[in-house]
Every structure is written in structure tokens, then in C-alpha cells.
Amino acid sequence: MNSLILSTATRILMPAILILSVFVLLRGHNEPGGGFVGGLLAATAFALKEKAEGLAAARRALRFQPMSVAAFGLGCALVAGIWGGLLYGHFLQGVWPFLTTGPDGAKGGLPLGSIFLFDLGVYLVVFGTLCGILFALEEAVASDADTGGD
């Protein structure tokens, strides 16, 4: 599809959607949002890129194989689970390495730990899988068009 309007708009929309997806991912820590929705959003950014500038451009923009991204995400989630398992004996138990509890019970420090790693994993799995499916479908459509379809 060669639309000047779409490809110009994509240049602005794509970074905006990607930033929004990260925002949703982070927001999901305590409020509605999270890795799944964030991953969906990020995938729509690449779907837009693919529609505006073609499959090759979208693949270049992603740099990695979509399934490798998904695999890396699954790895993140697993590491998050095993981390808590090895430390506290319960698979998937939350680990907060940067969180400190004061003498009066007040919590301080950075609430970043295995829970976020798990959420990031979900984000990457959803994002990678959706991009993989999308690219594969587009490829099938393109090769059908080359051979005259069936």
C-alpha cells in the first residue's frame, strides 16, 4: 500500500504507540494495564509500519526475529518464576531486590523486581508472537500474489 498520508502519519504514530505501550506496561504494575495489553499495543505499532511501508521495512525496524523476541520473553517470565523459587522456595513468588523496609514499617526504595520481569516477559511474548503471526500471514499473501493466487 503506497499512501503518503499513511506513511507520514506512521512516522509520528509509531513512536507514540510504542511509548504508550511501555507506559501501559509500567502502569499495569498497580493499576489496569500490564504486559498483555502493552504487548498488543506494541504489535499494532508494527502492524501499522508494515501496512504503510511494507513487510521488509517492518522486519528491519524490528531487527530481531519475532519468534526470538517471544522466546526471550518466555525466558524472562521463567527466570522471574525460578528466581523466587530459588530464593524463597515458592515458584513465582515476588522478589524485590531494591525495596527496603524502614524500622517503622514504611516501605522505601524502588519497587522493581521479579514481578516486573514477569510482566516484561508477557509483553515480549505477546508482542513477538503477534508480530510473528502477522509477518507470516503477510508473507503468505505476498507469495500468493506473486504466483497469481489460488
Partner: protein, 497 residues
């Protein structure tokens, strides 16, 4: 944490093989290492259960029934153990059998994804979580079936996925009703609450829906058609793994749900199971006798053998359940091995159509011997494992004076022997047809990787027969535990039950 390793290890292996996408050599190394680690974790679980009785673990440290529970009692532990053994055997066999093209399409990650699903289904103590593991298993196995995309493969895969999706829907509907009725999905908690439910009709509906869902997975009459039409089409290693383990997940789920949730309250269900068991045995073996392809005969035999396991469940005495556990273990060992041998025979004869095979005994007597051990075991000749498995089932039936199933089991055993002899005559004994080339298929690859697991499994079958006594003691222990759900409930809920 121990109970989560059989799930985490295959998943991790899948992740690493996917990240090592470019190097097939590295993928193979990771894959086999993952299988060995899975077996090691299964042995550790078995040891823990042997020492302390049933163990439970809670994901995230959330206490049951709020979090997701993993439970290993004797039955779960031994099922995971045999899964580990089969995983190592198939992965080693795969070193010779999987083509580079299949590897590039993701054979290794998918295999480990499926193993994770199988182990998860065996270990989970949460019925909804079991549904999730079923889906993990189904998706991986569906892609494995369809990889390569030959036409007959796609036909089989479509039937497989259609019937299994129906099973998933039925399962999910049952879960909805169950949750609505008792307000819990933790299996131990359900076992406590279900007898207090004042709604017999709904309990009966849940019971039969679950039986139908798991019955489809286990390939019992009349919902077994997906199995023979899909198991003979994929690569040898895939069908061997499926033949050994997938239907047994259904049998396991059937045993677990019927015994834990509905134990004695539903005599009509036992009557249905009895009828289903007999019909499964008979229809399976009739199908096998009529078939002309090596793996097709074996596929119908899976169905027929499932019938014996269902009989044991229907009688539900300690002896009968022990016989079922014994039967499941024996069958996984023997059936996987027969599929391995079918793969080797196919490479030698360039075909699996029995009419166009032949002469294997003259050219490869060692292979013929290796075939005879599991084949005669499956047919139930003493002193091999299959003899004892059938004997224990029959003994359980005779003790109850349940004569019709006993007669059916005997007749089916006779036909099993007959069709094993047919395989022997057609593929091994008769002189080869004229057009059969002398040389094996050039794609035969590193033969020793095929032979090692076949020899080990055949040795396992013999050992299983020789040490039938200890294995039976062990199965009786598992059966005793199954028949006393309180042990399971206590392991999960502790004092709060």
C-alpha cells in the same frame, strides 16, 4: 520449587532452542540436555514422594485453595518419571530421525513445549490449570502433527485438532458448572466440597462432561476416530511420543477426576465406564486386525489397550486400580518402542504398507528380536510385562465376578496376539517382494541413535516383567492412595480441611 522443575525445565529448553535457532547442532545438544534434566527432576520428585508421601507446592507462595497448587502423589510422580524416561528415549532417537527441515521448522521447541504440557497436566492440583496444560499440549502437538504439511498429514491433523477442541470446550463447560456449584477449582478443595453439594443432577452433569472430555483425550469408544487417522502420518519420533504419552494424559485425568471427585457416589458412571472399556477394547482390536499399515495397526492397538485401563478404573477396587496403573506404565514403555521399531522398519523397506514389506528377519535378525520383545509383551505372553498387566486386570475382574469384561479381555488378548503375528509375518518373516531394493533408505542417518533407545526400552520391558512383583506392590500403594482421597486432600490443604 521441586514440583515446578518438570514444567520449568522443558519450557527453558524450548526457549533456549528457539534462541539457538541458527545452529541445529546446538539445538540438538540443548534439547537432549533438557530431556536428561527433566528425567533428573522426575527422579528427585519420585524420591521425595517415596520418602515423605504426597507433596504439594504452591505457586507464588499463595496458600491453597487460593493459589495454583502442584501436587505429586505416587500416581503423579510415577507418570512424570515415565514421561522423563520417554522424553530421553525419544530425544536420543530423534538425533537420527529428525530431518534438518523439520528442525528448521521448530521441532525442538515444540517437542519441549509438549513435554511441559504433559508434565504440567500430571502434576497440577488445580483443575482449571489442568485445562491450561491441556491447551499447551494440544497446541504444540497440533503443530508437530502438521509440520511438513503433506496432504495426508494435514487431514490427520485436522481431525485431531477438531475432536480435541471439542474436548476442550466440553472440559471448559464442565469447569464452569463445577465452579458455579462449589466455588473452587483447587482439586483437593473440590473433593472436600463436592459431596456437600445438594444438587445431584448438576454433579452428574459435571461428572459425565468431564468423563467425555477426558475420554476424547484418552481415545475411548466412540470418540477414538481421531487417533488412528492422525498417528500414522507424522514423522516416527512424533508419533512415538504421541503414542506413548498423549492418550495416557487423558487416562490419568479420567482416573484423577473420577476417583477424587466422584468416588463411590456414581455407580451408573462405573457401568458406563465398564461398557466403554469393553467396546474400546473390541473396536480397537477389530480395527487393528483390518489394517494394512505398520503404524496404523499399532495406532488401533493403542485404542484397544486403553480399554483395559478403563476396565480397571470402572471396577475401582485396589487391585483393579493398581492393575490400571501397572497397565499404563507397561503400555507407555512398549508402545513407544513399537513405534520406534516401525520407524526403523520403514527406513529399511522404504514403505510402511505391510503388503510391500518383508524379509526383515533374514536381513536384520537383531531388529526382529527387538521387535518380538515389545510385540509379545503387548500381546501378553509371559513372562513379559504385558502378561502381568493383563493378568492383574483379569484377576481384578475375576475377584469381582464381573465375567463379561473378563471374557471380552481374553478374546481381545487373543486378537492382539493375532495381529502382532500378522505384523511379524508380513514385515519380518515373509520373503520380500521383488521390487524391494537391497539397500536401506539413504536417509537412514546415524542408525546407532535409533538402536540405543530401542534396546534400552526393550530391556526395560523385560525388567518390568521380571520385577513385576515390586512394580505391583508399588501400583497397589498408588491405588490405595487414590482410593483414599483424604491423603491427597491433606497433602494440599493441610490442617484446614
Amino acid at each position: 520449587m521441586l514440583l515446578f522443575w518438570p514444567v520449568a525445565i522443558p519450557f527453558m529448553t524450548a526457549v533456549l532452542t528457539m534462541l539457538a535457532w541458527r545452529s541445529l547442532r546446538l539445538q540438538r545438544a540443548i534439547s537432549v540436555t533438557g530431556g536428561v534434566l527433566l528425567l533428573a527432576s522426575a527422579i528427585a520428585i519420585m524420591a521425595a514422594v517415596a520418602e515423605n508421601g504426597p507433596v504439594a507446592a504452591q505457586a507464588g507462595g499463595w496458600p491453597a485453595p487460593f493459589g495454583i497448587t502442584m501436587v505429586a502423589d505416587w500416581l503423579s510422580a510415577v507418570m512424570v518419571l515415565i514421561t522423563g524416561i520417554m522424553a530421553v528415549a525419544t530425544l536420543v532417537y530423534g538425533l537420527a530421525d529428525v530431518t534438518a527441515a523439520e528442525e528448521r521448522q521448530g521441532h525442538h521447541p515444540l517437542t519441549h513445549g509438549m513435554l511441559a504440557g504433559i508434565c504440567g497436566a500430571f502434576l497440577t492440583g488445580d483443575i482449571f490449570n489442568m485445562y491450561v496444560w491441556f491447551e499447551v499440549m494440544l497446541m504444540s502437538s497440533f503443530v508437530l502433527l502438521a509440520l511438513g504439511g503433506e496432504k495426508k498429514q494435514m487431514m490427520g491433523a485436522l481431525q485431531y485438532v477438531a475432536l480435541n477442541l471439542i474436548s476442550s470446550i466440553v472440559f471448559l463447560s464442565a469447569l464452569g458448572l463445577l465452579y458455579g456449584l462449589v466455588g473452587s477449582l483447587n482439586m483437593a478443595d473440590v473433593a472436600v466440597r463436592l459431596p456437600q453439594a445438594q444438587n445431584d443432577g448438576l454433579v452428574a452433569a459435571i461428572c459425565s462432561l468431564l468423563a467425555l472430555a477426558f475420554g476424547i483425550k484418552a481415545a475411548v469408544f466412540p470418540v477414538y476416530v481421531w487417533l488412528p487417522s492422525s498417528y500414522h502420518t507424522p514423522p516416527t519420533i512424533v508419533s512415538a511420543l504421541f503414542a506413548g504419552l498423549l492418550t495416557k494424559v487423558g487416562v490419568y485425568a479420567l482416573i484423577r477426576s473420577q476417583v477424587l471427585f466422584f468416588d463411590v457416589s456414581t455407580p451408573w458412571m462405573r457401568l458406563i465406564l465398564l461398557a466403554v472399556g469393553i467396546l474400546t477394547m473390541v473396536f480397537g482390536v477389530m480395527g487393528a486386525v483390518a489394517q494394512g499399515g505398520f503404524r496404523r495397526v499399532l495406532s488401533f492397538h493403542i485404542v484397544s489397550q486403553i480399554g483395559y485401563m478403563i476396565l480397571g478404573l470402572a471396577w475401582m477396587t485396589p487391585m483393579a486400580l493398581a492393575a490400571t496403573v501397572f497397565y499404563v506404565l507397561h503400555h507407555i514403555l512398549v508402545k513407544t518402542n513399537l513405534f520406534f521399531i516401525a520407524g526403523i522398519a520403514r527406513r529399511h523397506c522404504h514403505t510402511e504398507e505391510l503388503s510391500r514389506m518383508g524379509g526383515l528377519y533374514a536381513r536384520y535378525p537383531g531388529l526382529a528380536l527387538l521387535f518380538l520383545i515389545p510385540a509379545m509383551s503387548l500381546a501378553g505372553l509371559p513372562p513379559l510385562s504385558g502378561f502381568w498387566a493383563k493378568l492383574f486386570i483379569l484377576k481384578a475382574g475375576v475377584d469381582l465376578e464381573s465375567w463379561w469384561p473378563v471374557v471380552a479381555a481374553l478374546v481381545v488378548g487373543f486378537f492382539t496376539l493375532f495381529s502382532m503375528l500378522k505384523l511379524w509375518n508380513e514385515a519380518f518373516w515373509k520373503s520380500p517382494p521383488e521390487e524391494l531394493p537391497d539397500k536401506p533408505d539413504p536417509a537412514i542417518g546415524r542408525q546407532r541413535w535409533r538402536v540405543i533407545p530401542v534396546v534400552m526400552l526393550a530391556g526395560g520391558t523385560v525388567a518390568f516383567g521380571v520385577f513385576a512383583g515390586p512394580v505391583l506392590d508399588f501400583s497397589l500403594e498408588a491405588a490405595k492412595e487414590l482410593l483414599n482421597p483424604q491423603i491427597y486432600v491433606d497433602a494440599v490443604l493441610g490442617d484446614r480441611s
